[in-house]
Amino acid sequence: MSAVAAEEILLELRDLSIDFKLKGGETLRAVKGASFAIKKGETFGLVGESGSGKTTIGRAIVRINEASGGEILWKGRRITGRIDRELDLEVVRKIQMIFQDPMASLNERAKVDYIVAEGLYNVRRDLGEAERQALVEKALLEVGLLPEFASRFPHEFSGGQRQRIGIARALIMEPELVVCDEPISALDVSIRAQVLNLLSTLQRDKGLTYLFIAHDLSVVRFITDRIAVICKGDIVELAETEELFARPLHAYTRSLLSAIPVPDPRVERARVPIAYDPSLHDYSRQGPIWREVFPGHYVLANEAEAAGFGREFG
């Protein structure tokens, strides 16, 4: 981790595991010892397919899911398990989340005013009504909505506008880290660009840090600085975005990259998707460990595989 030591680490996962109890007393380990650190001001992508555990990690960071093993650190302080009231309040404010489906994530029976201000009722009890309303108006303006929308209900808005309301609800808390869980995948193509541009502008203006959770590598490539790839609960690779695209190491990452559809018929017709076959790893003699193969480029691999990467890209 020497390369990132100089920069401020905002959030760190250390060997985080998350279990779910299933019917019949069985346990499902959704996240298996995930470790990574998110630097202040960056956009960190977490990419995987459905069931990979990417959303579970996002939800653990905002403490909806509990950690079963390992820990999550916020500015060096542990926020998993029991924490004191003061840290709890800080984390509630400073880590916010934007959800995938703007149709499902807004309370249908509340007005926009309440939806956007809901978080404030918990952490800013000092605010008077006028001050609270002023904050709601400011948040709405920041996401490109009109202040008079505050008195309307969610069903009066389009998908793109609802996602803006979801973003305003996060912004009003003055967060430092925003967990964006597939924030554009439910939106129409022309609206996606608007929301992506909004997220970039807000990041620049407010110095926000994003954890961007998505399955679509082509979108993730456009907006992230670094990417972690997760497969069935294991983080299998982590690198700077362009490095990951230039030198994908893990077989699963290669499969995922080969599957991205490209809006270019000539390229797309020639594309050959590579299927990922977990049995191609020979871990009979030595199991894989998390290792740095190139500076800042980590992969889950054993000694023999790492030597192979060195030969291939050396």
């Binding site: 389009s158 660009a193 541009n197 499969s255 991205i260 270019d264 390229v267 998707p273």
Partner: protein
């Protein structure tokens, strides 16, 4: 065009829905022709009318919807006036079948998968008993379901999303349709599964020799599958051409906007080209080019008169006044010029 090899000809189709006493014009005069054996992708955003358009080919418009004008000729037979279930029986599911985005819309959760395919075979191909169940297992095998004999005895919930979509495809293809309509067939699936499903549909198209219509908003999927592309906006087809023509030489400002708003074609660190505003209200009469209010470079005439379809090449047409000889010469956005340059370089 009157071309004999066209399996489907749609002419000036108008479809309206009555909603709370008001009329919504979902399709505002769409024309389309489909050549036998080709793959056509209809691209558009939600509300553009792409799903409504294809649903009218199989008589699946909602109760309050109706074809108000125009014609749909399928192998020479008129589909536009058909109303009753009986009218549609020889067509729907038999000659033209459809695969939906969510496989559970087409599957009965209470019926074994094999049985659901048998029903199709009994209804449309007159098979029964042992012959039907054998043919059902064969279809499951054909769409890549491993151990089809055993899987035929299972219920839909025992299948993963990708496997369910394979079952739905087996049902749709079992009656050997002439046209297969795929409505966002891979949107709900993971990218690795998506690639497999697209590959499967292509292989089946080769073996069963049907014609395919894709409906999608995913231009990556379009680039993968389409021979020809039709771009829809606000109930109209605004541009149509071969995949190469639409991707590398698009002419309609909406096609420009759609392509250049894609993150895949964007330049990192720069804002994406974005389309402001929202699509027009289809309850109201639309004057001029429906896209004009969202087009920052719209001409004066775009707000006044509706552009006709201008011919760019024998296969490529677009409804924009920019193609009128009197119009100013406008450059397409940067992302599109870059895409075209890359293509020309590779061709050279």
């Amino acid at each position: 065009m009157g071309n004999e090899t066209n399996i489907l000809e749609v002419r000036d189709l108008v479809i309206r829905f009555s909603l709370r006493g008001r009329n919504l014009t979902a399709i505002r005069g769409a024309s389309l022709s489909l050549a036998e054996g080709e793959t056509l992708a209809i691209v558009g955003e939600s509300g553009s009318g792409k799903s409504v358009l294809v649903k009218s080919f199989i008589g699946m418009l909602d109760q309050n919807g109706r074809v108000d004008a125009g014609s749909i000729l399928f192998e020479g037979a008129e589909l536009a006036g058909r109303k009753t279930e009986e009218d549609w029986l020889p067509i729907r599911g038999r000659k033209i079948s459809m695969v939906f985005q969510d496989p559970m819309t087409s599957l009965n959760p209470l019926l074994k998968v094999g049985r659901q395919i048998e029903e199709v075979l009994e209804l449309h191909r007159g098979l029964s008993g042992k012959a039907a169940s054998l043919a059902a297992v064969e279809m499951l095998d054909r769409v890549g379901i491993i151990d089809p004999q055993r899987r035929a005895g299972q219920y839909p919930h025992e299948f993963s999303g990708g496997m369910r979509q394979r079952v739905v495809i087996a049902m749709a293809v079992a009656c050997q349709p002439r046209i297969l309509i795929c409505d966002e067939p891979t949107t709900a699936l993971d990218v690795t599964i998506q690639a497999q499903i697209l590959g499967l549909i292509k292989a089946l198209q080769r073996d069963f020799a049907f014609t395919t219509i894709y409906i999608t908003h995913d231009l990556g999927v379009v680039a993968n599958v389409a021979d020809r592309v039709a771009v829809m906006y606000a109930g109209k087809i605004v541009e149509t051409g071969t995949a190469e023509e639409v991707f590398y030489d698009p002419r309609h400002p909406y096609t420009w906007a759609l392509l250049s708003s894609l993150p895949q074609l964007g330049v990192k660190g720069h804002p994406l080209y974005s389309i402001s505003g929202t699509p027009p209200n289809l309850f109201r009469e639309i004057k001029g080019d429906a896209f004009a209010p969202r087009n920052p470079k719209a001409l004066k005439i775009d707000f006044e008169r509706e552009p006709p379809m201008f011919e760019v090449s024998p296969t490529h047409r677009a409804a924009t006044w920019l193609l009128d000889p009197r119009a100013p010469r406008l450059q397409p956005p940067e992302a599109i010029r870059a895409l075209r340059a890359k293509y020309l370089e590779a061709e050279a």
